[in-house]
């Protein structure tokens, strides 16, 4: 495992393809962002994340599924960064596609793209986190599910602190755009709740999938004549 050269890392071409696709999307969304300063601030964490993933790829390659999940989340985030989260025109897109306003259909009073992104954060990133945790700690069973969920939820709490810190440092309109609370006094709590909900859904889905798979595996073993 440790002697593998880069060439043999499983799914190398797949990951390279994802990286290339993300680079294209990132570049397209880097063209004339609505608020350049907010775009730059939002992308600081993207650059950091991609850097860590790229550096870790040789020694600590994740599964294709994990890379795909991370990719989808980063796409959400760079869309939010391009338009500024509070101004992503998802409602206009929904109206153009279906002829109905999504906000009106759901009774939303504010632009909820940031809330969606927080939910998606928990939903998509729990699985990659679980992969890392299991490989580092070797934990199985309950703790193999609980700790990744715990870490995902906690990281969303730390994100709220980072967001606030950045808003305090930069202040003014940029700070307001970056926090993106749109005047909601419960913004931090709602953001964290949605990330937690996403992580819980992902954990339940992962556990159910594993149970179903191992059940099928056991049945196959039981039906084969010699064990």
């Amino acid at each position: 495992m440790s002697n593998r050269s880069t060439r043999d890392v499983p799914g190398r071409r797949y990951v390279a393809g994802l990286a290339a696709l993300f680079a294209v999307i990132w570049l397209l969304l880097a063209i004339r962002p609505r608020h350049p300063a907010d775009w730059a601030l939002e992308n600081a964490l993207v650059v950091l994340a991609v850097l860590v993933l790229a550096l870790a790829h040789r020694r600590f390659a994740l599964s294709r599924l994990s890379y795909t999940l991370i990719f989808v989340f980063l796409c959400f985030h760079v869309i939010g960064a391009h338009y500024t989260y509070s101004e992503v025109p998802y409602d206009a897109w929904a109206t153009a596609l279906t002829g109905r306003s999504l906000n009106a259909a759901l009774g939303w009073q504010r632009n909820n793209f940031d809330r969606i992104a927080h939910f998606v954060y928990g939903l998509l990133l729990m699985y990659p986190v679980r992969e890392v945790v299991i490989r580092v700690t070797g934990l199985r069973g309950f703790w193999g599910y609980f700790l990744p969920m715990d870490l995902t939820i906690s990281s969303s709490a730390s994100y709220e602190l980072i967001e606030w810190g950045a808003a305090m440092v930069f202040g003014g309109d940029l700070g307001i755009a970056y926090v993106g609370s749109q005047g909601d006094p419960w913004d931090a709590q709602k953001d964290m709740s949605l990330a937690a909900l996403g992580a819980i859904v992902a954990t339940a889905a992962t556990a159910a999938t594993h149970r179903w798979r191992s059940g099928r595996h056991d049945r196959l073993r039981a039906s084969s004549p010699a064990g």
Binding site: T137, D150, I153, S154, A157, Q189
Partner: protein, 208 residues
């Protein structure tokens, strides 16, 4: 023995603080979590026994919370005295309690994680740090839900926040600071112990 004493001490404090609290509804709501916590500790004293140090730390934190609940946090006399002394805009007893949450509950958490997950050293500390941060966030969520259910008219001006728009962030930061101090103290203590005894100390599997 010490555990029974702590339990008795806490229940006496709880009973005393339960006499004529400033806001009975607030008191009842604030008592749910600590009593659940104490119940879990009593129930789990055989399956998950903690060290005496952990029980003392937990007792200390619960005392903070119970006193705060009696005075609805915003009117704790010690906090008011501090407010006057330092010329603060609000009563900071709640922030002190958030800090105490991090400071006092991190060590028991390290002990539980050490035992249940087998994690050690940096990984153990990281897990405890993140979990404390997550719990601080969870507390803010609970607080906001309760505030919206019981006093929807108050909005952001509800009791706990005392008008601070960044209340949740300040609270979580206070808890995080307490956690960091606790982790540094634990790390320092472990290093001392290791130097003296030459063994990997504390947080061990064999807690009485």
């Amino acid at each position: 023995m010490i555990q029974s004493g702590l339990l008795a001490g806490y229940l006496v404090l709880w009973g005393a603080m339960g006499l004529a609290p400033l806001d009975s509804q607030n008191w009842v709501l604030s008592s749910i979590l600590p009593l659940t916590f104490v119940g879990a500790l009593v129930f789990g004293r055989r399956s998950m026994p903690l060290s005496t140090a952990s029980y003392v730390l937990i007792g200390g934190f619960l005392a903070f919370h119970t006193v705060g609940a009696h005075y609805t946090y915003a009117q704790v006399p010690v906090g008011q005295w501090l407010q006057g002394l330092l010329g603060l805009e609000r009563n900071h007893f709640d922030r002190v309690t958030h800090f105490a949450f991090g400071l006092l509950l991190t060590y028991p958490l390290l002990e539980v994680f050490r035992r249940l997950t087998g994690a050690r050293r940096l990984l153990l500390f990281y897990l405890a740090f993140m979990t404390q941060l997550g719990l601080a966030g969870a507390w803010e969520i609970i607080e906001s839900v309760v505030a919206q259910l019981t006093r929807p008219d108050l909005g952001a001006a509800f009791l706990g926040a005392q008008g601070d728009p960044w209340d949740a962030q300040h609270d979580m930061l206070a808890a995080t600071c307490g956690t960091v101090v606790a982790l540094l103290l634990t790390a320092g203590w472990q290093r001392l112990e290791r130097r003296e005894s030459g063994r990997d100390p504390g947080l061990s599997e064999a807690v009485p």
